[in-house]
């Protein structure tokens, strides 16, 4: 019996086995009825409560979801990133609204469509394959994370750089797909490119710098090695740039360099690299040429391009270039090797006054020593290692010693006595030629003073390099030296070459005129090797022509040389100049020169250049010339 029923019977003092009287029965029924009613009420209440409560719960749940969703959407919409989810089948299942704002992608155009369609339509064709492969890889590998960079088309057709961070969240029930977060990297990429450009380019000309040239040369060598090609490196140095800088100032120098850069670049193919290494030094990399000869052809072409006049701020400027050519595989197998070899060739070109020189191992035998000498020259000047030797010059008619030519020598502690050919061209490529020339001038004039004091009247000749000839300060410097030594200007002969005059004829003439006005004697050295115009020669204030030794040496067995010497003597005399022959090595030649009317001679037959002490002894041993009694 149910405990409630049992209790009801007990409360009414009823017995389960005895039927109750009518009153008790009615009370019993009333209680049982209440019990049913209680149960009904309870069921009603319970059901209502369940219904309302579950409704409230689901409303609340929906509110929370809506709230979360709204917050989620607001976060995504406000983000500078675009979020995209694609499912296992490669369909785009979600795209945040920021896609429109940030990447200008229409979300409804993406939603539900295959990723492939998106990639084909919006991604740069060069990046599409790689991107699809990465996305497939992401899809195939649970938990995988990948960063992929690609370019997205902008509405205007240009490309933006985008970084995508992909995560495989297929097993995450909240996502069930690959989450791809896209970020516009254009500004950063642009900055990176700019920084790279700055790191690898020359600020003045915008050309690649040494670092980039080095990089590209290495690359070209690798490529050429693989395909059996020749890669050539041309090193180019402007011959007269320093004068421009010194005389016109750095502003004009910079403008000139910019124009040179433009002209070089304009002369080359796009695949070639034109770089500025610093100062007036440029380089051109030819990654693919058929042969070294082809590279030489390019050097020739470049040289011609540079030689055409430049106009800087209305001024016409002429510059020349010395170009060194070195090529892989013949001359080197690394960028450093090629640069070094091209450098050697360039110095050779400069020294030889050639527009270009192709590297030759023969150049190299002297190069390390020569380059070393250059570094030591300044020290040598200070240390007094440079000495001046004197070669006597005799008058043909009388046999009298009328003067000496001062010739500089380097008493090198390691290499012994070095001739001027070993270091003067080096000094000429640098500013050292000026102190060197000053040194020789001072030594020669001091010596001259000494001889005068000892009763010997000798003129002294000093060679002037191009740089010194064009040095506007030279006349004043010479005045100072002449005053200091109290030597009459007439006793000083300055020997200059035709080519150095022709470097800047107007300026040379101005300086020569000033020197002439002082009374200094001027001689054209190595006459006959240049191509000076006679008309111009006539206008020069010179007093002496020195016939080059190359003609004199073969005077007796080479008819054309004899013609040249005779013509020179005649020309000189017609212009009222003395004519001096150099390189006289035997008596027969001396006789021949005498018969041609040459005024003076110089050469080993007479005496080789010698130190001052030797010269004094030598002079003392000479018979007193006849002319002394004239």
């Amino acid at each position: 019996m149910h405990p409630v029923l049992a209790r009801q019977l007990r409360r009414l003092s009823l017995d389960r086995d005895t039927p109750p009287d009518l009153t008790s029965w009615r009370r019993f029924l009333e209680r049982v009825g209440r019990c049913y009613a209680d149960a009904d009420d309870d069921r009603y209440t319970r059901e209502r409560l369940m219904e309302l409560s579950s409704h409230e719960m689901s409303t609340l749940h929906q509110q929370l979801r809506d709230h979360d969703e709204r917050r989620f959407q607001a976060l995504l919409a406000g983000s500078s990133d675009t979020t995209l989810v694609f499912g296992a089948a490669g369909q785009v299942e979600f795209v945040s609204s920021s896609a429109t704002r940030v990447l200008h992608l229409a979300t409804d155009e993406l939603q539900g469509r295959p990723m492939l369609a998106f990639v084909q339509r919006h991604v740069h064709p060069d990046d599409a394959g790689h991107l699809m492969a990465e996305l497939q890889y992401l899809l195939d590998t649970a938990g995988r994370e990948e960063v992929v960079e690609f370019r997205l088309r902008r509405p205007d057709g240009s490309w933006r750089d985008v970084e995508g961070l992909g995560r495989n969240l297929l097993s995450d029930q909240a996502v069930r797909g690959v989450l791809l977060t896209l970020r516009d990297m254009s500004e950063r990429k642009q900055l990176e490119r700019e920084l790279t450009r700055q790191a690898f380019s020359d600020q003045l000309t915008g050309l690649p710098n040494r670092a980039l040239l080095h990089d590209r040369t290495e690359q070209a060598i690798r490529l050429a090695g693989r395909h059996g090609l020749v890669a050539a490196l041309l090193l180019l140095d402007l011959d007269r740039f320093k004068e421009v800088n010194d005389t016109l100032g750095h502003h004009h120098g910079d403008l000139l360099l910019q124009q040179v850069a433009e002209r070089l670049q304009g002369s080359m193919r796009d695949s070639d690299t034109v770089a500025r290494l610093g100062g007036d030094e440029f380089a051109v990399l030819l990654p693919k040429v058929a042969s070294v000869q082809d590279a030489a052809g390019v050097a020739d072409k470049l040289s011609a391009a540079i030689e055409a006049p430049f106009t800087v701020d209305g001024l016409t400027l002429d510059v020349e270039a010395s170009i060194g050519v070195a090529a892989y595989p013949d001359h080197g197998a690394s960028a450093n090797e090629l640069l070094q070899r091209a450098d050697v060739a360039m110095y050779a070109a400069k020294a030889a006054h050639l527009s270009y020189v192709v590297y030759d191992p023969a150049l190299d035998r002297h190069s390390p020593r020569r380059l070393g000498l250059l570094g030591q020259l300044r020290r040598a000047l200070a240390a007094g290692e440079l000495v001046v030797h004197y070669q006597p010059k005799a008058e043909v008619r009388s046999g009298r010693i009328i003067g000496v030519e001062a010739l500089v020598r380097w008493q090198h502690p390691e290499y012994g006595l070095l001739g001027p050919g070993e270091f003067v061209p080096l000094a000429e490529t640098t500013g050292l030629i000026r102190p060197l020339t000053s040194y020789v001038l001072e030594a020669a004039l001091c010596q001259c003073r000494g001889w005068l004091d000892a009763g010997r009247d000798l003129s002294v000749a000093v060679n002037l390099s191009t740089r010194c000839l064009l040095d506007l300060a030279l006349p004043d410097q010479i005045i100072g030296l002449l005053e200091d030594t109290a030597v009459a200007p007439e006793r000083l002969v300055l020997e200059i070459t035709e080519s150095s005059i022709m470097t800047d004829p107007a300026r040379a003439l101005e300086i020569l005129n000033r020197l002439h006005a002082l009374g200094v004697q001027l001689a054209i050295d190595d006459f006959g090797t240049g191509y000076s115009s006679m008309a111009y020669l006539k206008s020069l204030p010179v007093q002496e022509l020195k016939v080059d030794r190359s003609f004199v040496q073969h005077l007796r067995d080479n008819q054309s040389d004899a013609v040249i010497v005779r013509s020179t003597v005649d020309l000189g005399h017609n212009l009222g100049l003395r004519v001096v022959a150099e390189g006289v090595e035997d008596e027969a030649t001396l006789g021949e020169l005498a018969s041609l009317g040459c005024d003076s001679v110089q050469g080993y037959y007479l005496a080789k250049p010698m130190p001052e002490a030797e010269l004094v002894a030598w002079l003392a041993a000479q018979p007193q010339p006849v002319a002394a009694h004239d």
Binding site: V4, D38, R48, L49, L52
Partner: protein, 378 residues
């Protein structure tokens, strides 16, 4: 301790002759009844005449408990003569709920003194804010004094309650009996057995024990929606869904039961405070859990050795429980008795609020609980 239980029924009168032999200053007479006020006054007069020296206390009910039975319209009486325990009675008037705290202070102040072990409080069930009443009591009494009791009931009518004062049935009164001495052992236990359900709601507007709005919606409308057809039975049917005050840093979780509704203001008055800004949850009953709760209250209230004489147990259970349990109400009374020693005597009533010590010390107003106090002299 000598205990007699008596019952008065309209149809049968007193179940036994009144135990005049137990009369004395250490005799406590507890009378809980729900006949008309005049009938009740007549019965109380009979008790006072038979037991003139005894301390008579009692109140109106929403059902009387005696032994295993629950009845309506009669009176349940326990007469207990203590051998080693002194008694003192005090009362205070409460004209309005705002007087509650002062009344608490007054009765406690009248009883506080050396040897005070326990206080049984019986209060008007409609005019008193139980929370404030007990705040007043706690201000005066040391925490080790056990305070139990309840708020008088008025069936499911919520119209008028009374408390015995000077032998009279008086409205707007708080009455208390103090028990003194070191031989009296007082046990207590209080359990609900209700389950919270549904969403948590915020009390968006309340004033003390008057609740206006939950989550911005009139609380009465919410209750009516939940009650459906049974809204016709308001305010009694609101007892089906007591309000759980969610536990937070400010206090423990408590249960609040409805005392009245105001259709004009769409407000509901609860037996204790419903703080504005707090979070609440509706509760619902489960027969078995209510009965199990009552058994647990019994076990908690009597944890000592069985002396063989049993104990006097005063059961004060909430009218809300009765409303839910209906014909099965006696099951919870039986469950209480079954958890007490066999010779124990059980008297009590269905109330509008229960008073029992709280876990954190002092006492609290509880609702929807079975609250049991056991008295044993050793």
């Amino acid at each position: 301790m000598d205990v007699r239980l008596l019952e008065w029924e309209p149809s049968a009168g007193w179940s036994a002759s009144l135990p005049v032999e137990l009369d004395g200053p250490s005799t406590m007479v507890l009378a809980f009844g729900s006949p008309t006020r005049e009938v009740a006054a007549a019965r109380l007069a009979e008790l006072a005449a038979a037991l003139p020296l005894s301390q008579l206390a009692g109140c109106s009910t929403a059902g009387e408990i005696l032994d295993r039975r629950v009845a309506d319209g009669g009176m349940s009486v326990a007469v207990a003569r203590f051998a080693h325990t002194a008694l003192r009675r005090a009362d205070a008037a409460v004209a309005a709920p705002t007087d509650s705290r002062r009344a608490g202070r007054d009765v406690a102040g009248a009883l506080v003194g050396p040897g005070l072990r326990a206080v049984l409080v019986l209060s008007d069930g409609l005019r008193v804010n139980g929370t404030e009443l007990l705040n007043g009591v706690k201000e005066v009494l040391p925490v080790e004094v056990v305070v139990t009791g309840g708020l008088a009931g008025d069936g499911d009518r919520f119209a008028a309650t009374w408390v015995v004062r000077q032998g009279e049935t008086t409205a707007g009164v708080v009455s208390a009996v103090g028990l003194y001495g070191d031989r009296i052992q007082v046990g207590h236990g209080s359990r609900g057995g209700w389950d919270s359900f549904g969403v948590e709601r915020q009390v968006t507007r309340s004033d003390g024990n008057v609740l206006y709005e939950l989550d911005g919606e009139p609380a009465l409308a919410l209750y009516k929606r939940y009650l459906g057809d049974r809204a016709a039975g308001l305010p009694a049917t609101a007892l089906l869904f007591p309000l759980a005050l969610c536990a937070d840093d400010a206090g423990p979780g408590l249960v609040r039961t409805v005392l009245a509704v105001d259709e004009a203001e769409q407000s509901m008055t609860f037996a204790g405070d419903v703080p504005q800004g707090g979070r609440v949850q509706l509760m619902r009953a489960n027969f078995d859990r209510l009965v199990e709760g009552a058994a647990t209250a019994g076990r908690l209230a009597y944890r000592g050795q069985d002396t063989g004489d049993g104990c006097l147990a005063v059961a004060i259970s909430c009218v809300g429980r009765r409303l839910v349990l209906g014909e099965r109400t006696e099951e919870e009374v039986e469950a209480v008795l079954d958890s007490l020693p066999p010779a124990s005597s059980l008297v009590g009533f269905y109330s509008y609020g229960e008073i029992s010590p709280s876990a954190k010390g002092g006492c609290d107003l509880h609702n929807q609980t079975m609250t049991l106090t056991t008295l044993v002299e050793v």
